[in-house]
């Protein structure tokens, strides 16, 4: 627990991103949150120039992933992450509006850690995010491999 966990938030809706950040903060999580509003930017940051992800070696990352992105699907990002040797053990929390059973099944099959449906009702939404924040504050995150 020496390295602080960095939260990578991939969420195309800026309002949602802001609300998520605020509610996570409200639950007392003060870790760095790096927001991305599209898949391309997020992947470029994660895999860096050499496409290996070695730039983040030793960093403890937690990825918050929305499935409906303008440029690619969240499942595609999830697949790439789980196929990469650097990020295959990085926890990925899928946080999306979709509650389609097929989609949920597919995400878990691809190796996501948690799948959360964004409640439409804001109270439940805020509540869910705060609980997620509390969850973040207690879970152990391994550093990116190699």
């Amino acid at each position: 627990m020496t390295t602080p966990v960095t939260i990578i938030m991939i969420e195309d809706d800026e309002g949602h991103a802001r609300l998520i950040e605020r509610n996570i903060r409200r639950s007392g999580v003060n870790n760095e949150i790096i927001p991305f509003s599209n898949g391309t930017d997020a992947l470029a940051y994660l895999f860096a120039k050499d496409h290996s992800g070695s730039a983040h070696k030793g960093q403890a990352l937690l990825i918050l992933l929305d499935l409906n992105l303008p440029d690619m699907t969240g499942t595609e990002i999830l697949r790439q992450l789980k196929e990469s040797k650097h990020f295959k053990s990085t926890p990925v929390v899928v946080l999306t509006t979709t509650d389609d059973a097929q989609e949920i099944k597919r995400c878990y099959e691809l190796g996501c850690s948690v799948y959360i449906t964004k409640p439409v009702n804001y109270e439940s939404f805020a509540n869910a995010i705060r609980q997620l924040g509390l969850f973040f504050s207690v879970i152990q995150v391994p550093p990116a491999a190699i």
Binding site: D13, G15, R22, T97, K118, V120
Partner: protein, 526 residues
């Protein structure tokens, strides 16, 4: 593209069908005219033939008559010669055989003359000749008589003188001439009459040949017309067959198009409702943020107000709702009111979007036909609704229920919606009785969910099945989705549903479902 070609084919067919009767009518009229003409020609030929045959027979009879007259004339002359020769014989031999012979011939002659006379009654010229001939014969016979008398009295010389006198006399010559004249006259008549008969025969054959030719020509025209109309009919039939095939293909294509459009609408509704949720979360989230901001702002306003009033009173409880006064209080109330309207509207919109999402999700679900014990299914629903029923003081009665093969989840949703509605819209003052019963009819199961509740005005019977529409007093929560959903499900299960109700006298929903539903093409439609 394809649709357009289908249209063209149908128009082509219409044109064909529109023109053909007119043409056919004209052709039929022509046929009748031809037949009539042919018939008339036949009648004319027959009549002409009969007339001409008669005339020919007549002509022939006349020809024969002429020959008879000639014969008779010759016979008369022969008898005369016989009388003359037998008279000469007697004169020479005085043998009584000759005398007998002579008597026979002399007796025959007047009858022969009479016969000839009767044969030539039609010809005045011949009559005159016969009259002359008769007198000449009479003279000649009288002469013979005198000769014979002379011989029988032994006056041979006198007889010989008489013969000599007779030979030089004109009587024999006159008879000869008259006979020749008569024969010549008959010859002339014979030539005339046989030419006549020939002409009649020729006319008859000409008429027959011409008539036959005409009839054959008419028949040929008739056959051509018939063949042409048969060809036209064949062409029309072929066009009809093609059009039918095209129509089927067009229907298939349209069905596929409709299915595709339906799927697209489903996808569209799903995506729209899905995408609408994201901004809604934002609106709701930031409204909540605003609400918190409001509390902060009015706290500060209150603090500032008090500071301005130079009140040294310390703010004891920071968290407690600060006391606002006058104008500030009114502002705070307006603010709260505005926020609460926004929140309630968002809540409503949120429920509607969720409902659409659920409907589209239902539409996308694949139905699976299984054998269903209806009684068990209804009992399960009733037990889950028992709490609500108890609260509404309603009793649910389950009658006979036929089992069927259908989709379990869909049936659960159909009946729980209907029973839930029945409980929801009971009359508050009388204890509710809800009955669920069923029967089978011609391969279909007919279910009925009836209540003694508030009922539905007949003018609203259509409306209650529309999405987001409700009827009657709006005193119960709901989005107006239940019945729309139920009807969609019933239709997908190959059934129909109807309502029978009056205001204040309960409602009865009838659902007809196939006993053996197979997930055939209905599933593809969804």
């Amino acid at each position: 593209m394809i649709a357009a070609s289908g249209d063209v084919d149908i128009h082509q067919l219409r044109r064909d069908l529109a023109v053909t009767p007119e043409r056919r009518h004209r052709r039929a009229l022509l046929q009748i005219l031809l037949l009539t003409a042919a018939f008339l020609v036949l009648v004319a030929i027959s009549a002409a033939s009969v007339l001409l045959v008669n005339k020919a027979r007549n002509d022939s009879a006349w020809v024969i008559h002429t020959i008879e007259v000639e014969n008779q004339t010759n016979a008369l002359l022969l008898e005369l010669r016989r009388a003359e020769s037998s008279a000469r014989g007697y004169l020479l031999t005085a043998a009584p055989e000759f005398l007998n012979d002579y008597r026979d011939a002399a007796a025959a002659i007047p009858t022969e003359v009479d016969k000839l006379d009767s044969l030539t009654v039609d010809n005045p010229a011949q009559r005159e000749n016969i009259d002359n001939l008769r007198s000449a014969i009479a003279t000649r016979l009288a002469l013979f008589e005198r000769e014979i008398n002379a011989v029988s009295h032994g006056d041979l010389a006198g007889a010989t003188a008489m013969v000599r006198e007779a030979a030089t006399g004109s009587t024999a010559e006159a008879i000869q001439k008259l006979a020749e004249a008569m024969l010549a006259e008959e010859n002339r008549l014979f030539v005339l009459r046989s030419t006549n008969a020939d002409r009649t025969q020729q006319l008859s054959s000409t008429v027959t040949i011409t008539g036959s030719g005409l009839v054959v020509a008419f028949a040929a025209i008739s056959i051509v017309l018939l063949r042409r109309s048969a060809q036209a009919r064949d062409a029309a039939e072929a066009a009809l067959r093609d059009a039918n095939l095209n129509l089927e293909a067009t229907v298939d294509e349209r069905t596929a198009d409709l299915r595709e459009a339906n799927n697209e609408i489903q996808r569209f509704a799903y995506i729209v409702s899905h995408d609408l949720r994201s901004p809604l979360v934002n609106i709701m989230g930031f409204t909540s943020e605003l609400d918190e901001l409001r509390q902060d702002i009015f706290k500060r306003v209150a603090a500032l107000g008090r500071a301005a009033a130079a009140s040294p009173e310390p703010i004891a409880t920071v968290d407690a709702e600060p006391a606002l006064e006058g104008e500030d209080q009114r502002l705070a109330q307006d603010f709260s009111e505005a926020l609460s309207f926004i929140k309630s509207s968002i809540g409503k919109m949120d429920r509607l979007i969720s409902a659409i999402l659920n409907l589209t999700r239902e539409g996308r679900r694949q139905f699976e036909p299984v054998r269903i014990d209806m009684r068990q299914l209804i009992e399960t629903i009733v037990s889950t609704l028992a709490h609500q029923a108890a609260k509404a003081e309603a009793r649910i009665e389950i009658g006979n229920l036929p089992n069927l093969t259908s989709d379990r989840l869909a049936l659960e949703q159909i009946f729980s919606n209907l029973i839930d509605n029945a409980i929801k819209y009971l009359k508050p003052d009388i204890p509710g009785i809800i009955t669920v019963k069923g029967r089978t009819k011609l391969g279909f199961a007919v279910f009925e969910v009836a209540d003694n509740g508030r009922g539905i005005d007949p003018k609203d019977h259509q409306r209650i099945f529309d999405l987001f529409r409700r009827a009657g007093t709006q005193d119960k929560p709901g989005q107006g989705i239940g019945l729309a959903h139920v009807r969609t499900l019933v239709r997908r299960l190959g059934g129909t549903m109807s309502v029978n109700s009056e205001l204040n006298s309960g409602s009865s929903f009838t659902i007809t479902l196939p006993l053996q539903w197979t997930a055939g093409n209905r599933n593809e439609e969804a």
